[in-house]
């Protein structure tokens, strides 16, 4: 009896550091950590397997993508009333693979049918940075940016022999390029009794994402599409970056420290003051909350930014807009009616809708001014606090 107690105590003492580490990471990146569960044996790819049923889920909230607005009337009508969606994520890994399972409710089961032109399948995608974000700068949530490419794993419910599964590399809106260099085993099944989908992604711990997947803490984000509401492409719900935590691995503290701003402890600021500052400084270019005087497309719409962007990113966007440059959609979406037409009558682009310019060696520079010298640190906090609440 006595010896047994000693052994138990001893064992829990051994476990303590990693438990503490887990608690600390979770506290630092509050609400954004997904603890991965290790496994000694093969991991089942059957989502109803008891091993999966017994795995603790992490709830993730996905918000309608509002930064850019596309041109499908029906999808946009649905977007105006779209609500956030909660998905359950479970992550398990062994020595050779990491498996991510996502379950989400979707009563309007929808698959893209052959011979139909206006049906859209429900879809899910995972996004991971291609390179490990050592310095804590994670890629833009909108499928990466010119400096920070992402890997995308996509599954779509399609009535064909094989479900539509594809992997892509991307550096921002419009840059999605299919690749065979990312391998994964994927499944996506509708569970009637659950009233939703269960999707599984088995990623090998080798290959292009080797460094990322083998680190103790790495970013992942999720996207879901409701086909019935004509969602596809940019019309989707997305999560902010979350972080998969592998307890037995070393955690990059620099990343944690940098990204903990506004997550570990609430930002000390004044929301009212933040709103006032945003109204006077930002709404000439951005649409946000009730401030909609600027046309859609002059700059990213910030109305849903709090749900999809981390506070550290929001702060950085205001202080150093060049760090991550968001790409605008095709410039020809807005042409200048009064501008000089070319020999064949084509109107020139309206440059007010251009978000960046190209510098030396093709480096992108944002058309947004830096507010570092304009806002005091206190004011900056208030602005970020206001943005954080725009969901």
């Amino acid at each position: 009896m006595h010896t047994k107690m000693t052994i138990l105590l001893f064992a829990s003492l051994l476990l303590l550091p990693s438990l503490l580490a887990a608690a600390s990471v979770k506290a630092q990146l509050r609400g954004h950590v997904i603890v991965a569960n290790s496994s000694d044996s093969a991991i089942s790819v059957l989502t109803r397997d008891t091993s999966w049923v017994n795995t603790t889920p992490t709830a993730i909230t996905l918000y309608p993508q509002r930064s850019i607005r596309l041109s499908d009337r029906q999808a946009n009508a649905a977007l105006d009333h779209a609500k956030p969606l909660v998905a359950e994520v479970k992550v398990r890994y062994n020595s050779s693979e990491l498996v991510v399972m996502v379950s989400w409710k979707d009563r309007s089961y929808s698959i893209a049918l052959e011979h139909r032109v206006a049906t859209f399948g429900d879809q899910i995608a995972l996004s991971l940075p291609l390179n490990y974000p050592k310095n804590g700068v994670v890629p833009h949530i909108g499928m990466g940016d010119s400096k920070h490419p992402v890997a995308l794993y996509l599954q779509k419910a399609v009535k064909q022999k094989n479900p539509f599964q594809q992997t892509y590399l991307a550096r921002g809106f419009g840059s999605l390029t299919q690749t065979k260099k990312l391998s994964a085993y994927m499944t996506m099944n509708y569970d009637k009794s659950f009233g939703g989908w269960r999707a599984l992604f088995k990623l090998p711990l080798t290959g292009k994402l080797k460094t990322v997947l083998n680190s103790g803490l790495f970013p992942i984000s999720f996207a879901l599409w409701n086909g019935k509401q004509h969602e596809r492409g940019g019309n989707k719900r997305i999560s902010s970056w979350h972080f998969i935590y592998r307890p037995e691995r070393e955690v990059n503290q620099r990343l944690v420290k940098k990204l903990s701003y506004g997550l570990a402890t609430p930002i000390l600021g004044d929301v009212k003051e933040g709103e006032k500052l945003v109204k006077t400084n930002c709404t000439f270019c951005h649409r946000i909350g009730p401030y909609l005087s600027t046309p859609e497309g002059v700059a990213p719409n910030l109305s849903g930014i709090g749900g999809v962007a981390l506070p550290a990113y929001l702060k950085e966007s205001i202080v150093t807009p060049d760090a991550i440059v968001v790409r605008n959609l095709h410039l020809n979406r807005h042409y200048q009616k009064g501008g000089e037409r070319d020999a064949h009558g084509a109107y020139p682009h309206n440059m007010r809708y251009k978000w960046y310019r190209k510098g030396k060696k093709g480096v992108l520079h944002s058309n947004m001014p830096s507010y570092q010298a304009i806002l005091t640190p206190e004011q900056l906090n208030s602005v970020v606090l206001y943005l954080q609440q725009q969901k």
Binding site: V117, G233, A346
Partner: protein, 331 residues
């Protein structure tokens, strides 16, 4: 946007609605591989719903300020039309109509020659339509994948199938509904103005095979070409729905007045409009009146035995002059 722009003029006064262009295009490009339902070229009867059904109601194009407008995608069942099996028992032996696939409600060319008004005062004309290869293409602007491009050498608008993700925003935004969804490849496809033929000095199949010789093809900056003359010199060829803001490059010579209407006693009503000018203006814009006036005055001139370069062109006496592709025919 492009260095040069190829354009087509269609003389609606000569179109007999034979659908040879439609068939030429279909057999060349769209009779297989998920394109079976598409008509890159169609000939619709106007006034009428057109193809796809009521295509003018789907939105798209650009607004008055030059911003892309939202649009909708037609469906197979209500827009393009689903194929159906004819009930041969009914057709041949007068049996009851018992169509298994239901009673079809629309189809390509569904309201052919229905037109408007009651005999003897009814009217209609044919309107052949292909992609307008616009100078400001809404499909290109709408594509979030950057998959649609406009060729520099001739302004032909094409889809890069490798980049296309099948999101169909081009279909929603094209106000002419001339981009289609390939239901087998899950990609967008459209009229390519027969660019492989153009590159060999051949006119697009629809124009080449047109029995009525209604189609002229050439570069808009080629001042010796008939396309230039019809569009810019005589200003009798007008774009369809320029109000959609995409600066289209298919031009139409609007239909002439036609015979007057008849009263209850079967007597012609002096000065009556069989095809109302307002209707033509709703399609071809405010310049319609001037274009028709020009045509009428040239006809008058000709009646008096004077020459008319314009009518000589429209009569298409020399077929080879209708197509100026800046290249000898290679075939």
């Amino acid at each position: 946007m492009s260095k040069r722009q190829l354009a087509m003029v269609m003389d609606l006064n000569k179109c007999i609605g034979c659908q040879t262009c439609t068939v030429a295009c279909k057999t060349q490009w769209t009779n297989r591989n998920g394109r079976d339902y598409m008509y890159w070229n169609n000939v619709e009867s106007r006034p009428g719903a057109g193809y796809p059904n009521k295509w003018e109601e789907f939105g798209g194009g650009f607004d008055q300020q030059g911003n892309l407008r939202d649009g909708e995608i037609p469906t197979r069942s209500k827009g393009y039309g689903d194929p159906w099996d004819f009930n041969h028992e009914e057709l041949l032996h007068g049996d009851d109509f018992k169509n298994k696939s239901g009673v079809p409600a629309v189809g390509p060319n569904w309201d052919e020659e229905v037109g408007e008004g009651q005999f003897p005062n009814s009217n209609f004309f044919y309107l052949p339509r292909i992609c307008n290869h616009c100078a400001n293409p809404a499909c290109l602007a709408a594509c979030p994948s950057g998959a649609i491009f406009k060729r520099d050498q001739d302004g032909v608008v094409l889809v890069d199938l490798d980049r296309c993700k099948g999101q169909r925003l081009c279909i929603a935004s094209c106000p002419y509904k001339k981009v289609y969804f390939n239901t087998k490849l899950f990609k967008a496809e459209k009229c390519i103005l027969c660019f492989p033929r153009i590159e060999k000095g051949l006119a697009p199949a629809c124009a080449d095979q047109c029995v009525g010789r209604i189609r002229f093809v050439g570069y808009l900056d080629d001042k010796e070409g008939q396309v230039y003359k019809l569009v810019h010199k005589y200003k009798v060829a007008l774009p369809l729905h320029a109000d959609y803001g995409t600066v289209p490059n298919i031009y139409y010579v609007p239909p002439l007045k036609g015979p007057p209407k008849f009263d209850g006693d079967g007597k012609p009503i002096e000065g009556s409009e069989r095809i109302p000018l307002s209707y033509l203006e709703s399609l071809f814009g405010p310049d319609t009146k001037a274009a028709l006036k020009r045509l009428e005055s040239e006809i008058e001139q000709r009646k008096q035995g004077k020459g008319s370069e314009l009518l000589d062109m429209l009569i298409a006496f020399k077929r080879d002059d209708m197509f100026r592709l800046g290249k000898e025919r290679e075939i």
